[in-house]
């Protein structure tokens, strides 16, 4: 059967969109990093990068921070994952909470609160100084970035590792016990290696996220890292400075390297055997001492993970909070300030993120349909193109947009594209598209083709079948994709900082960042942060509900 010309047109339009707003900006960044300005190839910019001691230091610092975050995140996540999956134990709900809590608050929002709790004159150190006369440099320089990022990102390792552990057939462990292994050796030689794919997936994700993060270091005033340097070069020296592009190429290379590496690692080994039989290991009982240790560990982690949330909440309702363990006077004035000063920003967030999410699910649904339901030649290419977006740091895409669309005017006298709010929608949409696409694809996979064939058999044409059968059946997945796109866009900061040219145009995330720049703005910044967290938490809840609700009524026609 020939593919409908309408479908071909839509596929081409999507491809053109992805090329214009993903491929060209990224290529422009890479090209600039290797271009001598006259169209020739050069490595001179990389040499120049290497000449600057601050750049070498930043590179090393970024690697150190990302590596340490993975290491510390592993230390937190591995015991938690092992405990919940392998032992009888009532704290499972606590651990699940641990896994979700950090994700609802953007790392850079938590950073300000962490400063007040764990900083040099923060609550914890004030108490320690009083009691023991010592202070811990938890938030000093790179330590602060590592601390904040670890608490924010360890759930990625926890969730992936837990899933991998739960998938190991019980006989795998029993065989090792039967041959004489137990305790730590059993874990080290059999359990952990078998869960390795999940661990590597989580750890590589954490590495990339931390390596690319711009917001957290900026809020903590740490600039000797790669992402802040790229931002500072581009904003202070200008868009022509090649060093910023060199940094971007490094960020992209590491992202692709980490993602490709983890993919290769999992692919290389045959883990298909692991889940054969599909019996989950019976959960073991904890001895009283082990239980004490386990609960102690979990409660301690929960307190740590909750601290930025509590901190930001306290900060948002405190009149003054400095050099005291807890704020001394409470007020709601910051919320009032935010609602008068930042109404525009809250509205902007809804507008940009709503439109971006809408664009994402529209593209996601179309691509899913084309890839899964048509025989259009080269249809997989659309899927692959979207996957590129997954490896693109927000910073890189932001710089790419500024470079590529500089001087591009919007039609109908809309002014420069880079100075208009449209650019936010495009940037948000492109980077969230992979998530929306996964969601739509999962939804469409669950719709049995016979349901469509039945509609066609009863006389519905292709478009009517899509409109009346396919899309309604995919609705749960489409909505979940919309919510995911919306909340991750609302929490985004890297692209946002770069693309904001006027305060009136900025979304909430920029507002929080801006407030945090001054001591006086911390209160309103925290209030805005609380609103953002509430928004993200609500969105996360809705998306979980949608995913849960979608499963049962999708069974029709399934096999």
């Amino acid at each position: 059967m020939r593919t409908h010309p309408g479908i071909v047109a839509i596929a081409l339009a999507i491809a053109a969109f992805l090329v214009a707003f993903l491929v060209i900006p990224v290529v422009a960044v890479v090209y600039t990093a290797f271009s001598d300005g006259q169209g020739g190839f050069t490595l001179a910019h990389f040499a120049a990068f290497n000449e600057i001691s601050l750049m070498r230091e930043s590179f090393a610092n970024s690697l150190y921070v990302a590596g340490m975050t993975v290491g510390l995140g592993t230390l937190i996540a591995v015991p938690l994952a092992y405990l919940t999956v392998r032992f009888q134990f009532r704290g499972a709900i606590l651990v699940q909470t641990l896994g979700v809590l950090p994700l609802v608050m953007p790392a850079f929002v938590g950073a300000a609160a962490m400063q007040l709790l764990f900083g040099r004159s923060g609550s914890v150190n004030l108490i320690l100084k009083d009691a023991f006369g010592v202070t811990l440099p938890l938030m000093e320089g790179l330590n602060g970035v590592i601390f904040v990022e670890t608490l924010h990102y360890f759930p990625f390792i926890l969730l992936n590792l837990s899933a991998a552990l739960a998938n190991i057939d019980s006989s795998m462990e029993e065989a090792a016990q039967n041959l004489g292994a137990s305790g730590w050796r059993l874990f080290r030689k059999v359990v952990f290696p078998l869960a390795m794919p999940g661990y590597v997936a989580g750890a590589s994700l954490v590495f990339i996220k931390v390596f690319d993060d711009l917001g957290t270091p900026l809020v903590l005033n740490v600039t000797n890292m790669l992402a802040p340097q790229a931002y500072l070069r581009v904003t202070s020296i200008g868009l022509e400075d090649p060093i910023g592009y060199v940094i971007c190429v490094i960020l992209v290379a590491f992202s692709i390297g980490a993602m490709g590496g983890s993919w290769w690692f999992v692919k290389r080994r045959d883990y298909a055997l692991v889940s054969r039989g599909g019996v989950q290991a019976p959960k073991r009982r904890l001895t009283p001492w082990q239980a004490l240790l386990a609960y102690g560990w979990i409660v301690g982690m929960l307190l740590l993970v909750l601290s930025p949330h509590l901190g930001i909440l306290l900060l948002s309702i405190s009149k003054v909070w400095s050099f005291t363990v807890l704020p001394e006077q409470l007020t709601l004035a910051h919320y009032a300030t935010v609602f008068t000063e930042s109404k525009q920003m809250i509205w902007n967030t809804f507008l940009y993120c709503g439109l971006a999410a809408l664009l994402d699910v529209a593209l996601g649904t179309a691509i899913a349909y084309i890839v899964l339901r048509t025989k259009l030649p080269g249809r997989q290419l659309l899927d692959h193109l979207v996957t590129i977006a997954l490896a693109m740091p927000g910073l890189v895409l932001g710089i790419g947009y500024l470079r590529t669309f500089k001087g591009v005017e919007l039609p109908f006298g809309g002014g420069a594209l880079t100075a208009s709010w449209v650019i936010f929608v495009l940037a948000y949409a492109v980077r969230r598209l992979p998530y929306a696409l996964r969601s739509c694809m999962a939804a469409l996979t669950q719709v049995h083709p016979a349901l469509e064939e039945a509609a066609e058999n009863l006389g519905a044409g292709r478009w009517n079948t899509i409109r009346r059968v396919v899309i309604p059946l995919m609705m749960g997945g489409i909505l979940a994709g919309f919510v995911t796109s919306f909340i991750t866009a609302a929490a985004e900061i890297s692209e946002t900082i770069l693309l904001t040219s006027r305060e009136s145009m900025a979304p909430m995330s920029y507002g929080i960042y801006l407030y945090f720049q001054s001591v006086l703005g911390r209160g309103p910044g925290a209030a805005l942060g609380v609103i953002a967290v509430a928004l993200v938490a609500f969105g996360t809840y809705v998306s979980h509900r949608l995913v849960a609700a979608r499963s049962p009524h999708q069974s029709g026609g399934g096999q």
């Binding site: 057939d169 029993e174 039967n178 078998l194 045959d270 298909a272 055997l273």
Partner: protein, 356 residues
């Protein structure tokens, strides 16, 4: 190493409110190839896992080589188990898999290498050491699993449905290899299966289990010829079973059953007192012109015939019941047409009275 025995004494085990093993007592002799045979849910795998230490019994004791292992963790029991799905670790090569138990026992490197090579050689997989489990066929994977277990020279070998993941042809071949291996090593072996043919063809003795209870322990022939109850009679081989009562009328003995009606029992048959079922195997039934006094005589009409090559399986309506008769096939002989009235004879020696 001298083979050791396994003694299970009054073992009971429950998972929550479900009693899975009820007062199990059985002795496995040193060097014996012993089967636990039963349908799924009978408790046979639970009993095997209990011997390996993966389940904890709430009452009774388990002795391996005369030593009570209750409370000994799996890794200190020295009983080798081959898992139903083989449980080969995909992140290790064949060699690393087989070496695992030896390394856990802190054997010197050279000795580990030597024993791994010997174990792989034993199962005919010398030269496969560097491969990963995923690169092997199902049959080869199973042999690696056996080599991995035998490498540690366990006191007892436990096999959990070892043939169930193999295709039919390979299953017969592997079954024979297992028997040869066991006879050669003389290791006490306990074999769990739901397949009666597997149990009968391989094992010295078989324990038939149902509903958490050992129904009967015996050699394959004892189980087949002298089943003690209805369950064993039906589970081991096929059988004609009729519930009823014995009636004595003058000198003659009759069997009155709802299905068969009243039939005269041959002279010399002494049924036990109480409620028992009359049982006989389909192959013991023959089609005759008229049965003699030394055989049970039945009359009925053929309902259905299945040609199975070596024999024909007839379903014969006798009274209200159906009698199954396996009649040897001779070349060119036509089957008896459905609807034909025939006489059947079952020799007195083939009649069994089993408890319900």
């Amino acid at each position: 190493m001298n083979p050791v025995g396994v003694d299970i004494r009054h073992v009971a085990l429950s998972f929550g409110a479900t009693q899975v093993l009820k007062d199990i007592s059985v002795s496995v002799e040193p060097g014996e190839f012993f089967a636990l045979l039963g349908p799924s849910g009978s408790g046979k795998s639970t009993l095997l896992r209990l011997i390996a230490g993966f389940n904890q019994h709430q009452a009774g004791e388990v002795l391996i080589g005369g030593r009570d292992v209750t409370g000994t963790p799996p890794w200190k029991r020295d009983v080798g188990m081959v898992f139903q799905n083989y449980a080969l670790w995909p992140h290790m090569t064949v060699e690393q898999n087989v070496a695992f138990g030896l390394e856990e026992r802190r054997l010197p490197r050279a000795q580990v290498r030597e024993k791994v090579a010997a174990a792989l050689d034993l199962v005919g997989l010398a030269g496969y050491g560097a491969r990963r489990p995923g690169q092997l066929s199902g049959g080869q994977q199973q042999r690696v699993a056996i080599a991995r277990t035998l490498a540690i020279e366990p006191q007892v070998l436990l096999l959990d449905e070892p043939l169930s993941n193999l295709d039919a042809k390979l299953r017969v071949q592997t079954r024979q290899e297992l028997v040869k291996l066991q006879r050669r090593l003389g290791i006490t072996t306990i074999f769990v299966t739901h397949d009666q043919i597997e149990a009968l063809t391989t094992c010295h003795r078989v324990a038939v289990m149902d509903d958490g209870v050992i129904q009967q322990v015996g050699t394959p022939m004892e189980l087949f010829d002298f089943p003690v109850n209805r369950f064993v009679a039906q589970f081991v081989g096929s059988v004609n079973l009729f519930a009823g009562r014995f009636e004595r009328e003058g000198g003659a003995l009759r069997f009155a059953s709802e299905k068969l009606g009243r039939v005269a029992l041959p002279a010399g048959v002494e049924p036990p007192a109480g409620e028992f079922d009359l049982a006989f195997r389909p192959h013991a039934v023959s089609v005759v012109d008229a049965a003699g006094p030394e055989a049970l005589s039945l009359r009925g009409a053929v309902e259905n015939a299945e040609f199975l090559g070596e024999f024909l399986r007839y379903e014969i309506r006798v009274g209200e019941g159906l009698v199954i008769a396996d009649i040897p096939h001779a070349r060119g002989r036509a089957p008896i047409e459905p609807g034909t009235a025939i006489s059947l004879a079952v020799p007195a020696s083939e009649l069994r009275f089993v408890a319900a």
